[in-house]
């Protein structure tokens, strides 16, 4: 299989994408954490009332 035979070549090509993948992952994790904190605040405020 040509695709697998050139795996080394493709892996090196994918290295270009690594910073973008890392950045997008950080943004998504940040968003998830923000939402979780927001939900947590709503729960606490709800309990206060």
């Amino acid at each position: 299989m040509t695709v697998f035979a050139h795996a080394g070549h493709w892996a090196a090509q994918l290295a270009y994408l690594a910073p973008l993948v890392l950045l997008v992952a950080m943004i998504i994790v940040g968003r998830i954490r923000d939402r979780r904190e927001h939900r947590h605040e709503i729960t606490i405020n709800g309990e206060d009332h």
């Binding site: 090196a12 090509q13 290295a15 270009y16 994408l17 910073p19 973008l20 950045l23 943004i27 968003r31």
Partner: protein
């Protein structure tokens, strides 16, 4: 050193710059149309009617030379000036001139000059032009750029002087019909592909013309003043997508990707040339759509930060920040072509049609390939890519401060624009490294 490491380093520079902007650029600085006029003894002569007529006449003269040399001269690309003039001097040279001196193409634009001349001759009996349809916006310009790049890269006969001259003739006819219908200024501003293309790049220049004055404006502020019109996103995406396609098709793996498509078309009864040209056209459109999709993902991410602004709105409001990226792509990809093939103009000018003339005594000159080394080129390209993306980051940050009333929201929305910039940087450097292997 592996070339992908440069991509990582460039991404790191962008991230550090992003953080620095968040702290050191708290208010918008580019949105205000500031302008400092140069002394009248500079501005007045340059904007005089005589200079305008002279520049227009030069543009028209060059258009006629291209038509004459292409249709009646040598049919070999290397001995006829037409391919080098159109693809190097015109297409690349005016990008450089626009970025340095401002919108100089407007003065030399042969179609505008021709339209103005006809308008002047028939000023007594002229019919009022139709109002330019606002919905059409800059879409005709986007189509013109796609058509031009397909001719250059996708057509198997795009380097033939007679084919280029015919295409120039067809485009001239369409342009003058557009000007006759909607007026010279409206068609030049929105519909004429090259005017729109060079005007976008000229907004990176610090020089600006206002009426009879020439003045200086803050760097990048010309782009912040870009008028929003339908099709503007399409033009800028096409500017990046076409260079991306050119880079991809010059890479070593391109033929492996294209071959199955060509064979599939040939199995359905298509001739070899038709199958190749159609597959190039389809893949050119596919690459443009991929670039559009990537930008759309970024603005959709930014829109998710604050639901008051839709992705569609943000796509239009931030598109000016992609122009320095389009310049970085074009400059990095074509700098070697401009430096090397640009030298051919010296000897081709002496014998434009390949008739064996020696008008300026330069016909025996040749290209000096040792003028810049391969390593120097790589660093020049790297510098251009990085500078273009940094400028884009500054423009996007400045616009975000206007769009969002909350600085925190503005910064959060820009995480996604940063991702777009990092993605485009990685793509640019990958393309350059692939093209160098091709």
């Amino acid at each position: 050193m592996p070339t992908w490491l440069f991509s990582w380093a460039a991404a790191a520079v962008l991230v550090v710059s992003f953080v620095a902007l968040a702290f050191m650029w708290p208010r918008p600085r580019l949105e205000e149309a500031r302008f400092r006029p140069l002394p009248d003894w500079i501005g007045r002569p340059l904007t005089s009617r005589a200079v305008e007529i002279a520049c227009g006449a030069i543009g028209l003269g060059l258009l006629l030379i291209v038509l004459w040399a292409g249709l009646f001269g040598s049919s070999t690309a290397v001995t006829n000036i037409v391919p080098t003039f159109v693809y190097v001097a015109f297409w690349l040279g005016f990008v450089l001139l626009s970025v340095v001196f401002g919108d100089v193409f407007r003065a030399f634009n042969p179609w505008r000059a021709g339209g103005c001349a006809v308008g002047f001759l028939f000023r007594g009996g002229a019919v009022e032009p139709l109002e330019y349809p606002r919905r059409l916006g800059r879409w005709p310009a986007a189509l013109a750029i796609v058509g031009f790049v397909w001719l250059e890269v996708g057509s198997s006969s795009g380097d033939k002087p007679e084919v280029i001259a015919t295409a120039v003739g067809v485009y001239s006819t369409i342009t003058w019909v557009g000007m006759a219908l909607y007026g010279v200024e409206a068609w030049t501003r929105y519909g004429e592909g090259f005017s729109v293309y060079f005007n976008l790049f000229s907004r990176l220049s610090v020089f600006e013309r206002r009426g009879r004055q020439i003045g200086i404006r803050p760097f990048l502020s010309g782009l912040a003043q870009l008028e929003r019109a339908p099709g503007t996103v399409a033009v800028v995406i096409v500017m990046i997508g076409t260079v991306t396609f050119d880079g991809l098709s010059a890479g070593p793996g391109w033929q492996d990707v294209l071959q199955p498509v060509v064979e599939w078309l040939r199995d359905r009864g298509m001739g070899p040339q038709g199958a190749l040209e159609l597959s190039y056209a389809v893949s050119l459109l596919a690459v443009i759509l991929l670039i559009a999709g990537f930008y759309w993902l970024g603005v959709a991410g930014a829109a998710s930060v604050d639901r008051r602004h839709s992705a569609r709105e943000l796509a239009g409001r931030f598109v000016h920040s992609l122009v320095p990226i389009a310049l970085a792509y074009a400059a990095a990809h074509y700098v070697s072509l401009l430096v090397f093939q640009g030298q051919a103009l010296a000897y081709l000018a002496s014998d434009p049609a390949g008739f064996g003339w020696n008008l300026f005594g330069t016909a025996t000159w040749s290209i000096n390939y040792g003028v810049v080394g391969a390593e120097a080129f790589w660093y020049i390209q790297l510098g251009l890519v990085l500078a273009g993306h940094l400028a884009a980051l500054v423009l996007a940050h400045d616009r975000a401060l206007v769009v969002y009333d909350d600085a925190r929201l503005a910064t959060r929305s820009q995480y996604w624009m940063l991702a777009i910039m990092v993605g485009f940087t990685a793509l640019a450097l990958w393309l350059l490294s692939e093209a160098s292997k091709g």
